[in-house]
């Protein structure tokens, strides 16, 4: 049984004129110790998916269907009290912006003891000792636990955030654009740290980013999201070498290549659709160079091609 099994998940936002379909019919599996990358442009629903897993959705969002089975329990049906015991302990999350995710009036160490003491009955002193050790495992001297967030640099804060997220050995770590606010050098260090700690603690990782090259650094498998749909799911090598979905192809082509400096950077023409009123059929068809008649009428099913999945009519049985 997989650690996490998402089936037909629908998360809609209530808008003035109907529903915005931020996540629509998404299926996803995650095994213990596996790392799955989720890519897609802004508004493709990847962060909404992460927030749905944490049940931290804003009040105007509703889970209107599907299930999230985590360790055999359906999280969508769990009462809030039960959920609090899971947050931080079994599923934890690293946020995008390390600058504003800390309470400016609390010491770094207190942020870590907070999560330990929220879930375990330990003394303050004991929790503080563990906090110092945790900081050391992410490469920050233990005595800096007495510092306040403003005394930390951006990279250090992100390290401290990782220490908080890992404090209770979660089974699943969700990282929502953890390196987006950092410069490239620090970004590489943080990615390296996440990868190492994930191996060491044998947890599953759900890594979310709009930057497919960053995701390829850490993920075993990659899921590509477009306009609320999961359009392709495959292992990293297949995605990099032989992307199937036209959208993934576009994404891969748009990665700048340092060896071909004269090459003009490719982009995908058009812009993502309005999710309160998405185009009929395949949501990518208005921008797709391979669009066929059926793409405008019917939503393509998830098609299995060898060990991978793609949501595109190009790969219907017999067509390839």
């Amino acid at each position: 049984m997989p650690l996490l099994e998402i089936r037909g998940l629908k998360v809609y936002y209530r808008a003035r004129d109907g529903w915005v379909k931020a996540v629509d019919n998404v299926d996803l599996n995650l095994e213990r110790g596996e790392s799955l990358g989720l890519v897609g442009e802004s508004g493709s629903g990847k962060s909404t998916l992460a927030l749905a897993l944490m049940k931290l959705l804003p009040p105007q969002a509703r889970i209107l269907g599907g299930s999230i089975i985590f360790k055999g329990r359906d999280l969508t049906r769990l009462p809030e009290e039960e959920y609090r015991k899971i947050r931080g302990k079994e599923i934890s999350m690293i946020f995008q912006d390390p600058m504003t995710s800390f309470n400016p009036l609390m010491k770094i160490g207190d942020h870590i003891t907070e999560i330990i003491m929220a879930h375990e009955k330990v003394s303050k002193g004991e929790a503080w000792e563990r906090a110092e050790k945790l900081l050391e495992t992410v490469g920050i001297p233990g005595e800096r636990a007495r510092d306040y967030p403003h005394q930390f640099s951006g990279g250090m804060r992100q390290r401290a955030m990782i220490a908080i997220a890992l404090a209770l050995n979660p089974d699943l770590l969700i990282a929502d654009e953890p390196t987006t606010a950092l410069d490239v050098i620090v970004q590489a260090q943080i990615l390296d740290l996440i990868r190492k700690l994930k191996e060491k603690m044998n947890m599953a990782l759900l890594f979310i980013s709009h930057d497919i090259s960053v995701v390829m650094e850490v993920a075993d498998r990659i899921g590509v999201m477009y306009a609320g749909h999961l359009v392709e799911l495959a292992d990293v090598y297949s995605i990099a070498e032989d992307p199937l979905h036209p959208y993934t192809k576009g994404l891969i082509r748009s990665i700048p290549n340092i060896l071909l400096s004269d090459q003009k950077l490719e982009s995908i023409p058009g812009s993502p659709p309005d999710l309160s009123n998405p185009p009929p059929g395949c949501r990518f068809h208005p921008r797709c160079p391979y669009a066929m008649d059926i793409c405008k009428r019917e939503e393509p099913p998830m098609i299995k091609v060898n060990d991978r999945y793609v949501k595109c009519f190009l790969y219907r049985k017999g067509d390839r």
Binding site: K89, S92, M93, S101, I115, A118, A167
Partner: protein
């Protein structure tokens, strides 16, 4: 060395710091006088010590009143009642207004609607009218009743201020991050949100004390204050008012002066603190 550094800091803060110093000194002196009243006052404030309606003299610095009581001694003792009632009422409105505002802003929904409606309707009454109504309802004369009557008037002030701040703070990312690690709502309210509002609460509180003193004096003046023989500035003002046309000016001048000095002192302190702690006002 350290003292010099502190002095430089103080000078750089400019006018607000001097306002705080002046207001704080006035308040401190009034509190000191009230505490040491038995040692400072030359006479018993509630018994007749001389002929009635004597003008100020060396023997009676502020003269005597209708009953032959020493006005100077009554002024000194009067501060006790005023300070006690205003401190009590501010404490009550603080302990009611802050948690209610916190809860209302944090929980939201129907609770927020109802509480806000109640608070807004309280707020829409002129303060003194509401205080009179409540004092009349609870029965005057009792120290606690007067304090409650004044407190109710100021609860909405704390409520609205705290609620507004909570509404913006609860959307901040660090609160969401706290929720993501499984912190309970109580923890989030008291360790993540409340500390950010404290400076604002301190400022509102200091301005509120001045208002409370005025309201207390107003209630006493209208006869809804403490029971007669107890010395009280507002009540003495009312008592002396009747004899002003006959030329007995000292009966109202000194109690009135004390109210003014006390209010100015506390307002100076409050405005000074406001300027020091409220960065948005600091630029202008």
């Amino acid at each position: 060395m350290k003292f010099k550094g502190a002095l430089r800091e103080f000078k750089r803060a400019g006018l607000p710091a001097y306002m705080c110093l002046a207001g704080g000194t006035i308040l401190f002196v009034i509190i000191l006088i009230s505490l040491l009243a038995p040692f400072i006052a030359p006479y018993d404030p509630i018994s007749s010590v001389d002929r009635p309606l004597l003008p100020p003299s060396r023997k009676h610095l502020m003269g005597t009143d209708l009953h032959g009581r020493d006005v100077y001694s009554r002024i000194i003792y009067g501060g006790r009642v005023v300070l006690l009632i205003s401190a009590l009422s501010v404490a009550i409105s603080l302990t009611a207004g802050v948690p209610l505002g916190l809860l209302s802003g944090y929980v939201g929904g129907i609770l927020d609607r109802v509480l806000s409606l109640v608070m807004d309707s309280l707020y829409s009454f002129p303060g003194i009218i509401l205080a009179i109504a409540i004092a009349a309802m609870l029965g005057s004369g009792n120290l606690l009743n007067i304090a409650i009557a004044i407190a109710v008037v100021y609860i909405p002030m704390y409520f609205r201020m705290v609620r507004g701040q909570v509404l913006s703070l609860k959307e901040s990312l660090f609160v969401e991050a706290a929720r993501a690690i499984g912190a309970s709502d109580i923890t989030i309210m008291f360790t993540y949100i409340l500390p950010h509002i404290l400076p604002a609460i301190v400022v509102v509180l200091s301005l509120n004390v001045a208002d409370a003193i005025l309201t207390e004096a107003g209630l006493s003046f209208l006869g809804l204050g403490v029971n007669p023989p107890t010395p009280d500035w507002g009540f003495d003002l009312r008592d002396g008012k009747r004899y002003l046309p006959s030329g007995y000016w000292w009966l109202i001048t000194f109690p009135g002066l004390m109210i003014i000095i006390a209010v100015i002192g506390i307002t100076l302190l409050g405005e000074g603190l406001n300027d020091l702690f409220n960065p948005r006002l600091r630029e202008s």
